[in-house]
């Protein structure tokens, strides 16, 4: 007996309300209260990069440049993910002038997972939890001083995070 995924019910309800509010303001518009916060991000959501299938295309769409491997980018990831739905990955680097850090999974339907902007004064170190469809390379890219540096690690996935 597998119980349907009702864990998201509460969240869904809330989200729908949120969506309703947006509809009133006009679709595609950012509601007033939030505008300053998101404007502060001062960047457009990189829609195209997130739509790419392979990591090479995603990197190209995101940066338009190529990354070189660097041992100054340290990734912490499990050997075997306990479950592909929740894989804890963190990265830290000793590189200077870091402006962004991104996470990619080669074998996911869309390779790009996350892109983090690191303003000056923020430590170039991020931990997050990602989904992995199957065993794959995880790639981290650090933009430091205008150049791209990467670290790659294979994470084995025995229970995929893309099925129910």
């Amino acid at each position: 007996m597998d119980i349907g995924d009702n864990g998201v019910c509460a969240a869904r309800r809330l989200i729908l309300q949120g969506a309703g509010a947006v509809a009133l303001v006009g679709l595609g518009n950012v509601p007033f209260g939030l505008a300053p916060a998101l404007a502060a991000a001062n960047d457009k959501y990189p829609e195209e990069a997130f739509k790419q299938k392979g990591e090479a295309d995603a990197i190209k769409a995101l940066y338009g440049r190529i990354a070189e491997a660097s041992d100054k980018v340290k990734m912490d990831a499990p050997e075997i993910a306990e479950n592909g739905a929740v894989v804890p990955i963190s990265v830290t680097t000793t590189l200077a002038e870091v402006t962004s850090i991104s996470f990619l999974v080669s074998e996911n339907p869309n390779a790009l997972i996350a892109f983090y902007k690191i303003p000056s004064g923020t430590v170039p170190s991020v931990a997050n939890r990602i989904k992995m469809a199957k065993t794959s390379n995880v790639i981290v890219i650090v933009d430091a001083g205008g150049k791209l540096y990467s670290a790659t690690k294979e994470v084995k996935v025995t229970v995929g995070g893309c099925g129910g």
Binding site: G4, D5, V8, A10, A11, R12, L14, I15, L16, Q17, G18, A19, A21, V22, A23, L27, G28, N29, V30, P31, G33, L34, A37, L38, A40, A41, N42, D43, Y45, P46, F50, A85, V86, V87, S90, V105, P109, N110, L112, I113, A114, F115, Y116, K117, I118, P119, G121, T122, V123, S125, V126, A127, N128, R129, I130, K131, A133, C162, G163, G164
Partner: protein
Amino acid sequence: MASTIRVRATSNGDTTEVQTLIQHPMDSGFVKDAKGEIIPPHFIQQLTFEHDGKNVFAADWGGGISKDPYVKFSFKGGKKGDDIKVSWIDNKGATDTTTARIQ
């Protein structure tokens, strides 16, 4: 209603560590439901953290971030009692914002 955002921000005097957990389905658009129908994409696209009127961290996310997403980062500065403002917006235009105090 309870906020969808949980924040833990702690200062050690020099840097402030911020951990956030957000209640959100993060449907990627690649998963089928029990009836075999695709669950449409529904995920947070942008998440921002503000301290003292300044942006200290921002995330652009795709559907590959886990359900109920978690993220941790640190920034220099920030002291106990300061506020951190956290906001997100998802691909359907829904949003939430919360303010947390640095411990």
